[in-house]
Symmetry: C2
Subunit: 327 residues, 2 copies
């Protein structure tokens, strides 16, 4: 069996660390190289019982690698992409830098695995809301195309990385100890509060996070006319995102038909009456509940889904992409 | 100046206690009688510097009262209503027992004050989501009727009373101390989690809480054809509810026009870019932000609002109703 040489760019972050964990769980035939910024050099992590030491990511870090899993921000991703390509490795990028590039496949393996094979060295991992949302609803879309989505999200602090997770934990402590709460990672207090703005607003009043769900879904589903009105809200939850969705379909559909589709779908679990974020944390399935017809419109159904933002919403999806290419 | 004799039925609960506080703040000309179940008899509370002692609520508790403010559940409310009427007091009821009764006005003072005057001894206070949602959007509806609302709520634990608030605080402590978390007031853990089901589901898959927003809004706005598709979700927030709403209007409307209406509206504050639940807690305004056109449909706008569930969503609204009748 072939062993693949895999680099993790941004190996010390929440997503980078989860990539290690998921590859170990899956017992993938990989040999890892951990890459990060200078200040993390020398940090040690265990993978399959062996100690790996973090190296500095430089222009020459990618020689001899088959795959690079990217878990860094847009700027770093854009900077390193040409060097990864030059080294002949396939770059699976979790940032949004290349997602809408027509030469870059954007892939959710349960939804559009066929897109993965036509690439020019870069494959993009979608945004966490897109991955979790589409894993839940693509089985419906395939049979009965979705024309419009109205969504409100309930997004975990893990979406803001280690700083976001630490901030919620610190504020939980501050609240309990009656200390003053001073927001740092988020614009406002997040414990016992909500922040209805993720990313910056465009001229239409939508945030970058909200636009991703429409733009990425159009590309992944090959549906350039799909309309998505999404409101993204940060909630004091650690690691799983939830989405409340109303779907306008092409034709009327019964709830039992929807349930049947989801029961057969890959990567999805029908969980009645409903999943909560705790039910999807530390595992890879997107769980769906509260499925019912919309009393306010014809051809419209309503559902609720949850998924682990760090796993299926980021690390696991990237590794599933790599697995498709290994096979 | 006339002094009114006012009874609070359910004076020891979260809403009953807030009624005391709001009446004191407003310096209303009232003489209070605190009524509750047997086990609360003898409890003492201060009102305007005087000590009031809780009496047992019985069939004969209402003699000589001008108003009774109800802060008990449906069963108690239905039981006591005839005795309140017999005593000649006006019953302003916070339960859902009489809200849809055609002989009972259902009133949000900023929205339909004119309904309050035609009553038969009972006036109903709407559900907290209805009050907060309609205070925010009725100014739009008046000028440009809303045909359909798609809403997702983010509801504070105070909606489940003292037990709900104590449960979140206890679980915050348990989480910090690494104790096992055992849900009691809610079906599932609420700290760092979400529960997408409030009330019981009907045959259409909507919960009782979700149906209230449609049914009560139709009555309050005199709009029997208004369609509301609402998903109600409990979140780990103490006391303010938030609602993400998409409104399908009768005609296209510019964002500036919406903002202008809300800036002039009573009981509403435009708060840009957005309010959070903390911004509306311990005060009476409903705050609105994130107003933008819907990219997924014509004649449709999107907004976010927050309001204190215990105050404007319950106690303050009931007292505003009483004030209308005092004048």
């Amino acid at each position: 069996m072939k062993t693949y040489k895999v680099g993790i760019l941004g190996a010390t972050g929440v997503v980078g660390q989860m990539m290690l964990k998921v590859m170990e769980e899956k017992q993938l035939p990989v040999e890892l190289r951990l890459l990060a910024s200078k200040r993390s050099v020398g940090k040690e992590f265990t993978f399959n019982g062996e100690t790996l030491v973090v190296e500095e990511a430089t222009e020459t870090s990618f020689e001899g690698l088959d795959f690079v899993l990217g878990a860094v921000g847009n700027d770093m991703s854009k900077y390193f992409a040409p060097f990864i390509k030059e080294a002949g490795a396939i770059y699976i990028d979790n940032s949004s830098a290349f997602r809408l590039d027509p030469n870059v496949p954007l892939v959710v393996p349960e939804v559009n695995p066929e897109h993965v094979y036509v690439h020019q060295g870069i494959i993009a991992n979608p945004n966490c809301v897109t991955i979790i949302g589409l894993t839940a609803i693509a089985p419906i879309h395939r049979l009965n195309p979705i024309q419009r989505i109205v969504a409100s999200t309930y997004q975990a602090v893990s979406g803001a990385g280690i700083a976001g997770m630490n901030e919620l934990l610190k504020q939980l402590e501050d609240l309990y100890l009656n200390n003053e709460i001073v927001p740092q990672a988020f614009a406002r207090q997040i414990v016992c509060n909500l922040i209805p703005q993720i990313g910056s607003e465009n001229e239409l009043g939508y945030t970058s996070e909200e636009m991703k769900f429409q733009n990425e879904s159009r590309k992944i589903l090959n549906s350039p006319d799909l309309k998505v009105n999404c409101t993204c809200v940060r909630v004091p939850v650690i690691q799983s995102h939830s989405i409340s969705m109303t779907l306008e379909l092409t034709r009327e559909m019964e709830v039992d038909e929807v349930k049947e589709l989801l029961e057969k779908a890959k990567g999805v679990e029908l969980m009645e009456p409903y999943p909560t974020p705790l039910d999807t944390t530390n595992q890879d399935l997107v769980k769906v509940g509260r499925i019912h017809k919309d009393i306010s419109a014809d051809r419209s159904i309503v559902l609720w889904c949850c998924g682990d933002q760090v796993r299926k919403g980021a690390a696991t999806n990237a590794i599933q992409i790599m697995e498709l290419l290994m096979n």
